[in-house]
């Protein structure tokens, strides 16, 4: 039988078509994010814009967590730690950077102006630094599994939180800040008081651009040999190794990829809230994210979107129950776990459900019949 590499040259796609298929989803993602920002945001009003921002950030965070917990099957409960790292890195760049280069603490420039470019750079910096931490956490995961790994990741999240709390005070006077270099300011992250007055650059465009791009990337990952290698690690590590999957590498890659987007999610969060309180991004936050993944369905992309939407919107809708809403929220969680322990979507995607297939098949058949 012909080997894989012998077949490749005959199966190469048309380069122009391939480039189109490669880039089109990204273009569509950015365009859709722009529409959300320009049309949907103003249409739904300030309250719902805020809820939409929360949903989008939750998609970025839970979607990235899903790569480690859902695909690779490594149970991480320290995701907020990566988020915190990304938040600090980005806030350091935008807050001190604005003062150094723009002489102000406020947001600067319009759409894709200097301020927003600085913010974008901050998001990417947050992602990169968080992924360095991803390597650090990924390494112990090579030897540990299950509960033991969970405890390591939990410990990581707590260490990051405590490190954040013991950083130096954040200077707020513009002149004082301009006297110091950016590097010297790197450890002045506010300590237990938190890092405040972060310029509020986060808006629907950025949140949903990152969210959609992440969804495209994890979709591509899931349906590729790299993604299947991760799933194989989850399913049976010994067999995965025996089939040539370097499980060590696969796990580290999963952690790094996941941490990168968690860092971006943290940056988006910090520039939405305007402040970083390390206590807010502790264990509880990590658990909230794990709940989204579990409720949505571990390993399912559509499940994550559903889970993030439901779990962010639900408490808002129940706001009128005031103090009782957390009870309702908890009851909803318990109900889902009793009725669908595998999560709303399980491991399946929307387009893999029998019902969806039936409907689309019927639609295409009726179209076909109509043409006749």
């Amino acid at each position: 039988m012909k080997s894989l590499q012998d077949r490749v040259s005959a199966l190469r796609p048309n380069p122009i078509a391939a480039a189109g298929l490669s880039l089109a989803p990204f273009v569509a993602a950015v365009a859709l994010a722009f529409v959300m920002d320009a049309a949907i945001g103003p249409a739904v009003g300030a309250t719902w814009t805020k809820i939409l921002l929360d949903v989008g950030i939750a998609i970025v965070l839970a979607g990235s967590l899903n790569v480690v917990n859902g695909y690779a099957g490594q149970f991480s409960i320290g995701h907020a730690g990566f988020m915190l790292v990304g938040a600090y890195a980005a806030a350091w760049l935008t807050f001190y950077g604005s003062i150094h280069w723009f002489d102000t603490k406020d947001t600067v420039g319009g759409f894709m102006g200097n301020g927003q470019l600085l913010f974008l750079a901050g998001c990417l910096l947050g992602g990169v630094i968080a992924s360095v931490f991803g390597i650090i956490v990924g390494l112990p995961s090579l030897r540990l599994r299950g509960d033991y790994l969970a405890i390591v990741t939990l410990g990581f999240g707590e260490i990051v939180r405590v490190l954040g709390q013991i950083t130096a005070r954040q200077p707020k006077n513009i002149a004082v800040i301009q006297d110091q270099s950016m590097a010297a300011l790197a450890n002045k992250l506010g300590g237990a008081e938190g890092f405040s007055q972060i310029p509020g650059y986060t808006r629907l465009f950025f949140v949903y651009a990152f969210a959609f791009i992440l969804l495209i990337l994890i979709y591509r990952l899931k349906y590729s040999s790299k993604g299947r290698a991760l799933l194989a690690v989850r399913e049976n590590e010994i067999a995965a190794e025996a089939m040539g999957v370097d499980t060590t590498r696969a796990k580290v890659v999963a952690f790094v990829f996941s941490a990168f987007f968690a860092g971006i999610g943290g940056a988006l969060y910090a520039h939405q809230v305007g402040a970083i309180d390390p206590k807010e991004l502790g264990f509880q936050k990590s658990i909230d994210l794990v709940i989204i993944v579990v409720i949505g369905g571990m390993g399912s992309i559509t499940g994550i979107v559903l889970g993030a939407t439901i779990l962010v919107v639900l408490p808002e809708v129940f706001r009128e129950f005031s103090d009782y809403r957390m009870i309702v929220y908890a009851l909803a969680l318990i109900l889902v776990m009793i009725l669908r322990p595998q999560g709303i979507m399980g491991v399946q995607e929307l387009w893999e459900l029998p019902l969806w297939r039936k409907v689309t098949a019927k639609l295409s058949r009726s179209q076909h019949g109509g043409a006749k």
């Binding site: 040999s225 399913e235 025996a242």
Partner: protein, 297 residues
């Protein structure tokens, strides 16, 4: 002194084997492994020629699967070496060895249960891809071509193994015989030079066994692989294997063609026990006698 003699003897035996079979596909040389004080495998030697079909048999607990685990890197041998196509692979990770060209199936089936049948095969075929994470995420032309090739080849493999009709089913929901077939399809997807089959017909009925037997012979030619087979079904092993190695308690007690092995008294003893006078029930051996024997050794 005795140790030195034994090593010299093993080396001579090894040289003899190398000279008769030019460049074996797989060469295990005096592999030994102990778990604590227990010698699980001692001085296991095997030279499997390209396209050879050899058997590895022995009573339950003889260490056959342990030999497979040594060859594939699950365990690291205490002594000895393994050459796969002249490359030393002992001490390497299982994933490295798989990429170097050795694939295996598992006695206690280890499929990727939640994945579909075709995805099980695709996962293994992914080993031969060259595109990394970045190319995957941007779907570069090379990546697209490789994914197409993976699907094409995986479908052909399912066809050879006769499980195409089950391609979208979850692996864990397959009937037992098809699980074994899928294990073989998945192993072949890694494009091995050497294929290790661990009890491929265990739990199969007569018809299935018959199909599997012709399949195994067909695989060699179709995929250019050398096959090493562990099997308890003596009929199958004696029929298709060119050479058989018999181990008991980790020690190689016989080696040769099926005919030679069948007539070997040590093999009969290992499988059936020592005929002891007219006593049909084996008695416990006299303690003082065995003590003496140990003291002498």
């Amino acid at each position: 002194m005795a140790q030195g003699h034994r090593e010299a003897f093993a080396l001579a035996a090894w040289r003899r084997e190398v000279s008769t079979a030019a460049a074996p596909a797989l060469h295990a040389d005096a592999l030994s492994l102990s778990f604590g004080g227990l010698k699980a495998v001692s001085e296991f030697t095997l030279a499997l020629p390209p396209l050879g079909l050899y058997g590895l048999i022995g009573p339950n607990g003889a260490g056959k699967t342990t030999v497979f685990n040594l060859l594939t890197g699950v365990y690291r041998p205490d002594a000895g070496q393994v050459l796969l196509d002249r490359e030393r692979i002992d001490g390497k990770k299982p994933s490295y060895i798989a990429r170097a060209g050795m694939a295996r199936t598992f006695q206690n089936i280890r499929l990727f249960g939640e994945l579909s049948v075709i995805d099980n095969v695709r996962t293994a075929a992914g080993v031969r891809t060259r595109s990394g994470l970045l190319r995957t995420l941007v779907r570069s032309p090379l990546h697209v071509a490789e994914e197409r090739a993976i699907t094409e080849r995986s479908l052909e493999l399912l066809d050879v193994l006769g499980i195409t009709h089950r391609r979208e089913e979850q692996a864990k929901s397959l009937p037992y015989g098809d699980m074994r077939r899928l294990e073989i399809a998945r192993a072949l997807a890694t494009e091995p030079k050497v294929l290790l089959l661990d009890e491929p017909v265990a739990g199969m009925n007569t018809i299935e066994k018959h199909q599997m037997r012709s399949l195994i012979e067909e695989l060699r030619k179709k995929f250019d692989v050398a096959i090493l087979l562990i099997e308890h079904d003596m009929g199958l092993v004696m029929d298709i294997c060119e050479q058989i190695t018999v181990i008991d308690h980790g020690v190689t007690i016989a080696r040769g063609t099926p005919k030679e092995v069948q007539g070997n008294p040590a093999v009969i003893e290992a499988y059936l026990g020592v005929p002891e006078d007219n006593d049909p029930i084996p008695r416990p051996t006299e303690a003082p006698h065995s003590d003496d024997a140990e003291a002498e050794a």
